[in-house]
Every structure is written in C-alpha cells, then in structure tokens.
C-alpha cells in the first residue's frame, strides 16, 4: 500500500504532541487491504463452536417456544396470560416498551453520532443498527399480538372498506402503530443501505458461486463509483437525520400512550422525555452486553477498542443520570401536586408490599449501579461493564414493569384493585422474543458484514487524500 510514501521524519515534525493526538479509530492503523481482510474474516471463516452454542438455544426459543406461546395465546385468548382486571396490560406491554427501548441506542449511535462526526461510531455502528432492527421487530410484534383478536389487527389500517369505518386517530395506540412501523421501516432501510458497499466487498471477495450470487444480488450492482458515493453519502446523511428524529420521537410516542392516559402514575407530561432517555439508557446496556463478548470472539479487538466501550459506558452514565433526575422529578411532582392518587401510586412504588421489590431494583440499578460508571477503572474493566450492561437491562425492565403494572394495580377506586403475576405464557413469549432476537443477531454476525467495512476504511488516515498515508505527496495535514 502507500507505506512507501510515508515520510517518517516529516510526519513526526508535523504531528501534534502526543497528549493532543486523537487515538486512532482502529488500533494500529492497519492498511486498507489488511483491514478489509480483518473485518471480513469472521463472516468468511469457519463457524466457531461458541456460535453454535449460542445459536442453537436461541434458535430453539425462536422457532419452538415463540410460536408455541404465540399460537397458544391467539387460539385460546389473552386469558392465558396473567393480565386481569384492573391490570389490563402486563408483560405484553412491558416487553414492548423494553424492546423499543433497546432499539434506541442503536439508532442513536449510528445516526446521531454520525451527524456529530464521531468517527469512532463507525466500528460499532453496524452492530448497533442490527440491534435496533431486530429489537424493533420484536417490539413491533407485541402490539400486534397482545390484542384480544389479533386477526382483526387490520382494523387499524386506514383503507376504504365496505363498513365505511376508519381507525380512530386520536388514540396514541394508533400513533404507536405508525411510529413503530416507521421505526422498523426506516431503521431497516438505513441498515440495509449502509450495508450495500459492504455487500459489494463480500461479493468481490467471495470464492464460491453461491456467495457470489447472493452478495451480487444484495449489492445491487454497487461499483463504488464517485457518482454512486456522491448520492449515497447524501442519502446517508438524510437517513441519519431522519433516524435521529426517530430516536427522539418513537419512544416519545410510546410515552404518549401513557401520558395521555388518566391513570395516576401515567398521567405525566414528563413521559415522552422519560421514555426516550430510558430507552437510550437501556439500549446502551444492551450494546455493552453485545459488544463485549462479540469483539473478543469475532476478533474485533482492534476495531472495537476499550476506548469504544468506554464511550458507550459514558453515554450510559449520562443517560442514567438523566433517568435519576426524572425519577426524582416524578416523586417530587407526585408529592407537590397534592393529588392523592399520584401520591398513592408513588409511595407504593417503593413501600407498597406488592411490587416493592421491582421498585427497589429500579432504584438500585438505574440510580445506584449506574454511578459505578463514574470510575475509569470500572469503565475499563470489561467484565464489570458486561455485568453492568446486564443489570441496566434488568433495571429498565423493572422500570417498565413498575410503570405499567405498578400504576394499574391500584388506581382510583380501591374496590377494583388487584394484583398481577405473569404466567408461563407471558414469560415464554418473552423468552421467545429474546431467542428470536439473539438468533437473528447471531445470523447477522455470521453472514453479514457486522462492521461497516467501507465506513471504517473511510475514516482511516489512509482514506484521506491529504494525509501522507492517503497518498498526499506533500503538505496536507497529518
């Protein structure tokens, strides 16, 4: 490659002092070709054993547990779940919000950080986007199947019909339908479009006819011409902008489901923000859980460096602090409003004997454990980060449980109060979606470009025509 043109002396002269120098996105700044080999290696290599060990149970959950639980519910009734009167929504909606939440960090990393020119995002962006797409798919499932008569879901679609009836657009649930579908659509498009140049990489590297055919098809004739890059980059920016909008609005709309409702504990204007931040927070937790093992097992330590994880952890910390603030505000407003129903709900989140445990998990994890991320030591300890990632997911799950169930089970009239306990079918469906998510994710890791190869190459010094590594004859900037 261009090693020949490297003028070490000149480079050293022009280089800023070490403390000001930005750490490279990819450790060791490998040459473009070598980098390509490295990043394609996992998809092209032999499937390792760990992959199978993870894939088989995930596939079992996705292809057996999931359909069994789903069909059982659809053919028997929502009654197979623990939902009751007054807790009309249980794990179905808890998991829905949770999955939507998981999705958000992916978009935030890939879109918002792109717009703010954070080059380090390129190495983890694709994995984050895949997380988004798969978790939105899981999330999108819940509203469709949690209803009593899933076969009439099409009532929610506005098209002319012989009944002369239309959906009711004042319902936040309708907004939800649009929001989640849009999110799924846009993030899939974004994900797919981002992969086109990498499909071309895979196409050109493929050694078998099957691979070649498949990737040729997927690459859609991508040649990498300047014209293609020109339009592609524009489209990419536009999509990033749109995705950034979605980061802030999809969860807001999910939050509107709650804040437009009457129920004490839901009826709060803070909800849209609350859900956005909660979603992002939860998603960063999930990012940690996914990135830490995969970077090791897929041999991506040089592209997903500890510095990346450190940044994800910092983002988690920031969102965790905002969440903490929101919790404080919630309790404060409940007290300050003087509304006896609000006060009741919030005192019961922490002191009501029924769901106290969930309330305290929420506080301990989302407020407590998150504070550990202040410490550099913790942030550079991968095992600790992994555990914290897991805990954040649990904490956010219990937050959703507390919001959904904890506000419903004791509402206005004490006569209708009740309790909620999920059944095996609730849990089975959740396990099924988890399985489906991980199965899809593992398939993605194995068969698709899990790192945005072209994008990473594009932010390397080798890609800068004004950089010595990029072939600049003289001058330019280092």
């Amino acid at each position: 490659m261009a090693d020949s043109v490297l003028n070490l002396a000149e480079l050293k002269r022009l280089a800023p002092p070490a403390e000001l120098r930005r750490a490279p996105v990819v450790e060791g700044n490998p040459a473009t070709g070598a980098l390509t080999d490295k990043l394609s290696a996992f998809a092209e290599g032999k499937t390792p054993r760990w992959w199978w060990i993870l894939f088989l149970p995930a596939a079992f959950a996705a292809t057996v547990i999931f359909p069994v639980c789903l069909f059982y519910q659809v053919f028997t009734g929502v009654g197979v779940w623990g939902n009751n009167h007054p807790v009309m929504w249980g794990l179905d909606i808890v998991n829905f919000i949770w999955w939507v939440g998981v999705a958000h960090a992916g978009t935030l990393i890939s879109a918002l950080l792109f717009l703010t020119k954070q080059h380090w995002r390129t190495t983890i962006g694709r994995m984050a986007e895949a997380m988004t797409v798969f978790s939105v798919a899981m999330a999108g499932l819940y509203p469709a199947i949690h209803v009593g008569r899933a076969w009439f879901d099409w009532f929610m679609m506005p098209f002319p019909n012989s009944n002369g009836l239309w959906p009711q657009f004042r319902s936040p649930l309708m907004w939800d339908v649009f929001a989640v579908n849009t999110y799924l659509m846009v993030s899939s498009l974004f994900w797919f479009m981002g992969m086109i140049p990498d499909f071309a990489v895979f196409r050109d590297r493929s050694t078998t006819r099957v691979r070649k055919t498949i990737f040729s098809f997927l690459a859609m004739g991508w040649t990498g011409s300047a014209r293609q890059w020109h339009h592609y980059e524009k489209a990419y920016v536009v999509l990033c902008g749109l995705c950034t909008l979605l980061v802030f609005t999809v969860s807001s709309i999910v939050g509107l489901d709650f804040c437009t409702a009457q129920i004490a504990g839901w009826h709060a204007t803070i909800f849209p923000l609350y859900f956005v931040i909660g979603a992002v927070f939860c998603g960063f937790g999930m990012m940690l859980v996914l990135l830490i093992p995969l970077r090791k097992w897929c041999g991506l330590e040089i592209v997903i460096t500890k510095r990346h994880l450190d940044k994800v952890a910092k983002l988690a910390l920031v969102s965790g602090l905002i969440i903490t603030y929101i919790y404080l505000m919630e309790f404060f407003i409940a007290w300050y409003s003087g509304d006896p129903y609000e006060r009741w709900v919030f005192s019961h989140r922490l002191f009501g004997h029924t769901y106290m445990v969930m309330g305290w998990i929420l506080i301990l994890v989302n407020v407590g454990v998150t504070q550990l991320l202040w410490f550099k030591k913790i942030r550079s300890n991968l095992a600790a980060l992994f555990v914290i990632g897991l805990l954040i997911n649990c904490g956010m799950w219990s937050e959703r449980f507390v919001i959904v169930v904890g506000s419903l089970y004791q509402d206005f009239l004490p006569a209708s109060w009740g309790e909620y306990l999920p059944t095996i079918w609730d849990i089975g469906l959740y396990v099924g979606t988890l399985g489906a998510f991980f199965m899809l994710y593992l398939l993605f890791v194995k068969f698709l470009p899990m790192v945005a190869i072209s994008e990473v190459k594009g932010v390397m010094p080798h890609a800068d025509p004004h950089h010595p590594l990029g072939g600049a004859k003289k001058g330019g900037h280092p």
């Binding site: 007054p86 879901d153 649930l173 009457q262 922490l350 206005f412 004490p414 209708s416």
Partner: protein
C-alpha cells in the same frame, strides 16, 4: 306493563306450542327424553333433529358475538321456517309479557316474565301488584337460569334406571290405589313449605282419603318461625307484616331483614321508603353477630354474639315493658349504655318504633319481640298481623319412629339439608318393612340418589300453581313454556298420588280459584287476585305467651371463648339453602358483604382468628356436638368475637356441573338449631384459596362514597357536591368544545342515571338482573380469583373505620396499613368495628369518556344521546380503554367464557382449540364447520343459547364489554315510539307518557335506588334527582363528566348514643386530606 291476555291458553303458552308443533317430529320428541349427557356418537348422528329445533328458534337468536368471528365469505345456506298454521295475535320477534309468580317458602314474588318466541328470557317484578315497585329479589332474577339448567332432572327413574312416563304414572296410580285401600297406613309425605291454596286443598284431600297418612313440612331454612311465634303469641293463626316504611325507629335483633330473611325485596322497598334523607327519616339499630346487610345499613350497630343477643333484648325490654324490671347484666358498660339509649329512643317513638328478631333466633326471642312491640304500641301500626293458614315445622327426629311403608318427598333436598334425618336409618328401616321412597324433585341430587322412584319436577315457569304472598294476596303461577324436559308439576304429582281423577294442574288451580271466568282471566292478566287482606284488629298477647317470656332468662349460655365457640348457620345470600347451588349466576354473584364467590367460609372476627392462630384460607375443622366439618377461615370485619358464621347450602355432592363440590357442607354439623354454642375449632394445616371480587376493604379516605350524618346534612344539604367539604379540587372547564354539546342540540334525548346510595342496601339483585338481561357469562372460581369476572355492574363494598385506629404513621413507611398487601388487612385492628358502605358501580357514560379517545379502531364512541356505546364486533381488544377507565367498569373477555364449560376455565394450561376435542371432534374442525361452536357439549350449548336474551349480542373472547344503560331497551323503546309516531314528529320518549324504558338494574332494584331517564327533560325524575343537593359525581375532578351520578348517603345516628360519630368514611377522608394539607 304490557301483559298479554291469556284467554285461550290453558296448558302452557300456545306460541310455544305452535313451535312445538313444528318440531313435532319423532326425533325431536326423542331428544326431549333422551338420556343425558348424550354420548358423542349420538351427537353426530342425531344432531339434525336438535339443530332443526334450534334453527326454528335461531331466527330470533341473534347470537351475534358468538358469530362475530363470522363465517367470512363462507355463506352457509340458512332456512327460514314459517308456521304451517299462522297463529293469531302473534308476531314473530316481538317480546311477550306474562304475569306469574315465584313461590317462596312463606309467600310468593309476583312477576312479569318477558318471553321471546315462547322462550322466557327475563324475569321482572310485577309492578301492577299492590304496593310493588316492580322489583324482585336476586333469587327470582336468577331462577330463570335454573329453567335452562342442563343438569335438571329429565327422566322418570326407578332404581336409578330410566322408565317411561307411562310406567311412572302407572306406579303412582297403583300407589294411590294401594293406600286408598288401607287408609294410608304407612304413607308419609315430606314436603317443603308452600303457600299454595291448591296444594293445601290437595293436602286436605289426601288427609281425607288416607287418614292414617302423615304429612311433614320441613325447610332447611325455617322462615315460618315469624308466623309460628306470632300465632303462639297472639293465640290465633296470624303472621306479622313489618312496615319498615312506617317505622321511625327500628331495632333489629339479629334480624337480617334486608338480607337473608324471606321477602327481602319488600322489606328493602319499605325500608328505603322510610329512609329518605331529611327530617323524619327512620333510624335503624342493629344488634348482630354476623356482619349483615342490615348491619351495613344500620345507624348504630352493636356486635354481640348471637347467643348473647337475648341479654341485650331483655335489657331493652326491661325499659320498654309496662312493668319495669331489673335489667339483667350485659357484658360491658358500653353495651348497657347502648341498649339503654336505644330503649329510650324506642320509647320516644311509641307506635312508630318496631323490634324485629331474626329467623335464626329461637322462638322465645320472637315472643319477647312481640311483647316489646305490644308495649310500644307497634302492633297494628308498624307491625300488622294478618290471618294465615297454620304452619308446621316437622321435627324430623320422629320420622325414624313412624312405621312408614312409603315416603313421598315433595321437593326439597332433605338428604342433603338434614343430617339429622339419617337416610341410612331409614333404609335399614326399609329393609325391614320393604318401604319405598318416592321422590319428586327438580334435580337428580343427593336425595334422588337415595330414593327408589324419581319424578322430574317442572320449573315454576313451566307449571300451573298458585300462592299467597307474604302480605296475603293470592297470586296465580302460570307457565310460560311447556316443560322443556317433560316432568310433572307439583300439583299434578300430588293429585296423582291422591288418585284424583283430575290431575291436570291447570284444572286444579282453576278449581281452587273458583269464581267467574272473567275474574280468573283478570287475575291471570294482572298476576294477582284483587283482594286486600285486612290485618286482624284488636289483637293481644296471650297469657301463655307472656308466661313464656320469663324463659329467655334461663337461656344464658356459658360465656363464649376460644374453646367454647358459637356457630351460626345462616341462609346463604346466593345459593339459599343449596337450591341455587347449580345456578352459575348465583355462585358467581359476590356475597354482598364478603364479596366472596363460589365458596362459603368459616367467618370469624379478627380477635378470634388471632386467638385461634388462624388466618384467611387456613382450613379448620369445626367440631360441634361430636360432629365435625372442615372449611376455610375468612376474617370478617365487624364480626362478633367467638362467633363462627357458616353459610348453608354449599358442599353439594350431586348438584350438577356448576355446583358440585363448591364450598363445604355446613349441614354436616347442623341439627336444626341455627345458633349453637360449644363448638371447637382446630387448624388442619391445609390452606385453601378463596376468590373474592373485591380484595381491598378500605376506601383509603377517598371520596368515592360520600356520607354525612342527618344533622350535618340539614345544616349543609350540598355537602357532597363536587368540592366535598371544600377539599376536592374544582371541576374545571374543558379546553375545547365538546362535539357532544353540539349533538345535544338536535338529539331527542340525553340519557343519565342516578344511584341513591342512601337507598341502596347492596343486596345484589341488580347484578343478577344485569347478568340476565345482558347475557353476561360466568367465568368460574378460578377466573374470579384472577380478577376476570364479567359483571357489568358491580357493587363496591368498603369497610370504613375510625382513622385513629389505623396504623398510618406515614405514607412512606413499610409498616403503614395502607402499604400492606391485601392479605394483611385481616390482621389490622381497624377492622374490628367498621361501617360498611355500598356503591353500585357501572359504566358512567362520561361525556368526556377517557376510554373512547384511546381506542384505535372507534369501537367505543359516544352516540348523540350521550351513551358511551361499545361496538363489540369492531373491538380488537387492546384493553387500553379499560386501563384508562378511572372507574374500571369495563370487562374483557379474556377467554371464550360463553363457549367454554367451567371445567375448561381452570389453570394456566387452558385447553386450546388447537389441541382440544369436544365430543370427539377436533375443536378447530368444529369451528370451521360452524363458527358458533365451542367447547361446550351441544346439549349444554343449546340450553345456554335458549337462555340468552336475543336483543343483546353475545360477546366472544377478545372483546371488551361494559354497561350500556341497557341500550337494547332504549332502542326498543325508541323504535316503538317512532313506529307509533308514523308520519308525525312525535318521536321523543317522555317519562310523563311512560315511554322511557327502565334499565334492568333499575327495574330489579327493590330500593328504587337506581333512576334512569332523560336528563334533557327537566321534568324527568332523573333530572330532578340530579338537581338535588345530594347529587355528586365520583371522580368528577378528572373532568370525565359522568352521566351516572350518585346521591350521597345520609346516616341518622342518635346523638345520645355512646357510639355517635360522623360517618367513618368522612372521618377517613378528613384525616387523609389533613395529611395532604400538612404536606403541601
């Protein structure tokens, strides 16, 4: 009321007969008599005949919800089958109303029954009946379900084997011949009490024909004691009629006259009439051990063990009686002050006061009450005595000793209800004497099992009969439908035993009635004989009775304690003595006080439970007189200490698919006395789950039910108005105009409702009426336990208490009562002395309904008349509406409650159509063939369909439902009015013209607590009620603008009483809002 004339129908409804003729095929007849349950192969092979029968009906069925799944593009060929001979004066699809009556033990409830195509679907009270407001009690409302009970006795049986009707009737003929020959030697009858003049006539004929035969009357629940006591006290056959409306002060001594006595619907009506908020409202003192509905309505309630109430009664009598005596000691200073002030109040209201004693109290107590009433001058004023026939109660101990050859059991279920009548002994006896037990009964129950011959009885809606109401009016009982499964009416059966030539029940009743045909027709049309019974005048206590009065002194039992417990056996609010055990509506009706469904329990007080070391759900064994029974513990707030309350009527072994095995059988330790002491209790170590519809007892100081004492109400009549004591947030204006306000300008009516909490006693009749009218399914115990009961109308019952007794150090504290789990309420001290408040809760039809704006598919919207309407077939079941309903009155069909039998409604592992088979056929296949099919066997399903109201869609799983203000009745009324208006514009329903419909709950309510009507009509009663200062909206500050509002409750406590205080609910509210003030 539109009663159809019944001129030419002598034997059942002719319209049914016409239909019957249509289905008069051999297959159809065969079906009627086929053994049950039908085997699987038969179902398939002979399905057509049954189908044929139902299809005729199906034109009117409109079993819609079941069919909402719809056949889609599969359009099955359907047939319309008109009459071969067009009947006159009959219009298919139009409801017919007939007057009849439901006989009870000591009276009858006059009814009007609505019937479609010869199929009774709804029971209402007869509003034409003198004094009646057209109400019923819950038993009458539920009795229609018994008509369609698939477990009814359907066959004549001998030694457990089916025999033909002819064979069975031959046997009766021979029986009568045999005893005619020996003057009835060895023949005994065991009957339930009845007021039927025709039966009395036949009884007389039997006594004449078989002079040596014996006739016993036995009821498990003895309501005849009022009559026997009065007869004894006054020395002539009289029975008391209590005028609660005329009384100013009422003292109830263990008398649950609003709950488990006979004739409660009359009592509630009269009591409510005397409780109109304001000067002159009556005052109720209750001394009782169980917490009853009467206690819940009382202004002062003293909890005393039932066996010690006599002391209180005597204490009071000493002040009231003409010659004051030295009052016997009562257990505490408080009690004596209570009783003393109560006595003062009684005396201050001479002639307007009354004392009533419960039917479970012994005869002596009743005599004492008559003495007090006499002394107060109440006899003839608040208590009237009317002449009556004699009433006996058999002492069944004697039955063993009579040399009986043949025992004829008429109704009742004595093998179950009387453990003192050991069938085993009788059977030994029989083996000696080769005797026979002939049983005439409605079910193939415990008694049937032990009988040699079984004759299926008809339902009262299938029978000709007559009865005398508690106030002495004769009412005819006329059938609305020919017997569904054959069977005999009681009169026919007795007549056949008597060997009468005329065994036709109609002819018997007609002969008893005598008189002109004109008068007879009129009585059938009206549903009663226009004849008032005048009370016996100038009646005095007999000397013998006065002597008896000395007796109660000796009754004082050994003092109660945890080793000497008192047991109270009481008539259950739902299954009665067990006769409604197979009635799903009744089983699922929450007990008015405990809110328990599908069970009875051992009711104890908190203190007793603590001393005995038991908690709710612990199985205990109660031993009484050497016999024992096991049941679960339930801590009842406000119970007297050391009392065990056992509801009778549960633990049935052969009730049917609904009632078998529900609860425990308290009859096992019952010996005929309703109050016994000397019981012990032992914890078995097992636990048991009880399903209640309301788990939280306290109102937590929330202003849902608003109360004030009378003096406060007089000072501030609008105390309950929106700001309730000036503390509730104001009801503000909407930010935007409501399109409903625009619609109001052109709409014909605006519907609204008020519920008078002052009148409502919480009896639950409305709940059953609603269930019956609106095709509400039952869900079974397990589903109730999961909080999935479907009642559109529920009655919230809160226990309120002195807030000082609550452990409420701070809201943010783990030990506060309010932060405890519901399971721990039973240990809280505040439940010892509580007041109870009831609040019927149904859809409020909010003008700004929170449920509507969240529905994504427009399945619930407002109509122009202010109804919050629910289109089931549009609903996809997101359940968001229910979440957003602050009143939580929406009900979701979590499972196919209509299509699943109770056995398929249990467990987390519900059977699914994917794998389940019904009648040997894969459910999915069944569904494909017929989208109306379900998991119920076809015979059960057919009967269920028959019982449904064709005017209301039957909902399938996955849809939300709720109170509609009986929109079907409104629409029906509107349609009729519009049709009447024709080409004129007189389409508005007006209360003044009597065209405004009544909702089912309103119609059934004995207290007339529910008023429904057009709020845009200023002259309607609902408008007037809403204008009252008592009117308030529950949770009105949420800006829901509910159309259902409540009239606040006014209590009338006596300021001189030691327990005088503001209503607890108000005190709780005040204490809550004080903390709020302190905090904010």
């Amino acid at each position: 009321m539109n009663h159809s004339p019944t001129s030419n129908s002598a034997n059942g409804r002719r319209y049914w007969r016409s239909l019957d003729e249509l289905a008069d095929t051999p297959e159809f007849k065969d079906w009627l008599h086929r053994e049950f349950p039908v085997g699987a192969s038969e179902m398939v092979a002979d399905g057509s005949s049954r189908r044929h029968f139902l299809k005729i009906m199906s034109a009117s069925f409109a079993l819609a919800g079941v069919a909402t799944l719809g056949a889609g593009c599969r359009r099955p060929e359907e047939h319309l089958e008109p009459f071969g001979k067009q009947p006159e004066n009959y219009t298919f699809g139009e409801a017919q109303y007939y007057a009849t009556a439901m006989p009870t033990r000591t009276g009858a409830i006059p009814l009007v029954v609505k019937s479609y195509e010869g199929r009774p679907v709804k029971i209402e009270g007869n509003a034409l009946f003198p004094g009646s407001n057209g109400s019923t009690d819950r038993y009458a409302q539920a009795s229609i379900l018994d008509l369609y009970d698939p477990d009814r006795a359907r066959h004549f049986k001998h030694d457990g084997k089916e025999v033909s009707r002819e064979e069975a009737l031959n046997f009766l003929a021979e029986l009568s011949k045999k005893f005619a020959a020996n003057q009835g030697e060895g023949l005994a009858f065991l009957a339930e009490s009845s007021t039927s003049p025709s039966r009395a006539r036949l009884q007389k004929i039997i006594a004449d024909k078989f002079p040596k035969s014996q006739w016993f009357t036995y009821d498990a629940i003895d309501s005849g004691i009022h009559q026997r006591a009065a007869t004894q006290a006054f020395g002539q056959p009289v029975k008391p009629v209590f005028h609660f409306d005329k009384a100013k002060v009422i003292l109830s001594l263990d008398c649950d006259f609003l709950g488990d006595e006979e004739d409660v619907h009359n009592h509630i009506r009269k009591f409510a009439a005397g409780r109109k908020a304001g000067e002159g409202m009556s005052r109720l003192y209750a001394v009782e051990s169980l917490f009853t509905l009467t206690g819940a309505s009382a202004d002062h309630r003293l909890r005393v063990a039932a066996s010690e109430i006599a002391k209180v009664a005597e204490f009071i009598s000493c002040f009231v009686a003409p010659q004051p005596d030295i009052p016997p000691p009562v257990s505490s200073e408080f009690e004596s002050r209570w009783a003393y002030e109560c006595a003062n109040d009684l005396m201050a209201n001479r002639q307007k006061a009354m004392v009533v004693v419960g039917q479970r109290q012994p005869l002596e107590m009743h005599l004492l009450a008559h003495a007090i009433n006499s002394a107060l001058g109440s006899i003839g004023n608040t208590v009237e005595l009317i002449p009556t026939a004699e009433n006996f109660r058999a002492d069944l101990k004697n039955l063993e000793t009579i040399g009986t050859d043949t025992l004829v059991i008429l109704g009742g279920n004595s093998a179950y209800t009387s453990s003192l009548w050991p069938f085993e002994t009788y059977q030994q006896h029989k083996s000696r004497r080769a005797g026979t037990i002939v049983r005439f009964g409605y079910y193939e129950d415990e008694t049937a099992e032990k009988s040699d011959w079984n004759f299926p009885a008809t339902h009262f809606l299938e029978s000709w009969n007559d009865a005398i109401t508690s106030d002495g009016v004769t009412v005819p009982v006329q059938p609305l439908i020919q017997p569904l499964f054959g069977g005999l009416t009681e009169l026919e059966f007795i007549a056949r035993v008597a060997g009468e030539s005329q065994a036709n029940a109609y002819e018997i009743v007609r002969a008893t009635f005598g008189g002109s045909n004109e008068a007879w027709k009129k009585s059938l049309f009206n549903g009663f004989v226009q004849k008032t019974v005048s009370p016996v005048a100038n009646i005095r206590l007999t000397k013998e009775a006065l002597v008896q009065l000395a007796l109660p002194r000796s009754m004082s039992p050994a003092s109660l304690g945890k080793d000497n417990l008192e047991v109270i056996f009481f008539r259950d609010a739902k299954v009665d003595d067990g006769r409604f055990a197979n009635n799903g509506w009744m089983q699922e009706l929450p007990d008015p006080i405990t809110k328990m469904t599908w069970d009875n329990a051992v009711l104890v007080s908190r203190k007793t439970a603590r001393e005995l070391g038991v908690a709710n759900g612990d199985m205990v064994e109660i031993t009484l007189n050497g016999r024992s029974v096991k049941g679960p513990i339930w801590t009842q707030p406000g119970m007297a200490d050391y009392s065990l309350g056992l509801a009778l009527g549960y633990g049935r072994e052969r009730a049917g698919r609904v009632g078998t095995g529900v609860g425990f059988n308290a009859y096992k330790i019952f010996s005929g006395k309703y109050i016994e002491t000397g019981a012990t209790l032992r914890k078995t170590g097992e636990t048991y789950t009880i399903s209640c519809t309301q788990d939280h007892w306290s109102m937590e100081g929330r202003p849902a039910v608003r109360e004030a004492n009378l003096d406060e109400f007089i000072k501030e009549p609008a105390f309950a108005r929106e700001s309730f004591h000036g503390k509730e947030p104001p009801i503000v204006q909407s930010l935007y105009p409501n399109p409903l306000d625009e619609a109001k300008k052109t709409a014909l009516h605006q519907w609204g409702m008020t519920v008078d909490l002052n009148a409502c006693v919480g009896c639950g009749t409305c709940v059953i009426a609603c269930q019956s009218e609106n095709n509400i399914p039952i869900v079974g115990k397990e589903q109730v336990g999961r909080g999935r009961e479907m009642h559109w109308l529920r009655i919230d019952r809160y226990f309120t208490s002195d807030p000082k007794r609550k452990n409420n150090p701070s809201r943010f504290s783990l030990s506060a009562d309010m932060n405890q789990k519901d399971e721990n309420q039973q240990f809280a001290e505040w439940i010892d002395d509580v007041q109870a408040v009831n609040q019927p809760m149904m859809c409020h039809h909010c003008e700004t309904a929170p449920c509507e704006s969240v529905c994504p598919v427009n399945a619930t919207v407002h109509d122009q008349e202010g109804l919050n309407v629910m289109a089931y077939n549009r609903c996809i079941g997101t359940r968001y509406c229910s979440n957003n309903c602050p009143y939580k009155v929406r009900r979701f069909n979590y499972l196919d409650f209509n299509k699943r039998p109770l056995t398929e409604l249990k467990g987390t592992l519900y059977s699914t159509t994917l794998t389940h088979k019904t009648a040997g056929e894969w459910d999915l296949l069944r569904w494909w063939k017929d989208s109306n099919s379900g998991m119920r066997t076809e015979d059960e399903w057919d009967l269920i369909k028959l019982s449904k109201n064709p005017d209301v869609t039957v909902r399938m799983r996955g849809v939300m439902e709720k109170c509609t203000y009986c929109t079907q009745r409104i629409e029906h009324a509107k349609i009729k009015q519009k049709a009447k208006a024709g080409q004129t514009g007189e389409v508005r329903l007006l209360e003044a013209e009597g065209t405004v419909p009544k909702t089912a709950c309103q119609q059934a309510c004995p207290a007339s607590a529910i008023t429904f009507g057009d709020v845009s009509d200023a002259d309607s009663s609902v408008s007037k009620l809403k204008a009252l200062p008592l009117n308030y909206s529950v949770l009105g500050d949420l800006l829901t603008k509910p159309r259902t509002t409540y009239l606040a409750r006014v209590r009338n406590p006596n300021p001189d009483m030691p327990d005088y205080h503001a209503p607890f609910s108000t005190e709780e509210y005040e204490s809550q809002s004080l903390t709020q003030k302190g905090n904010s």
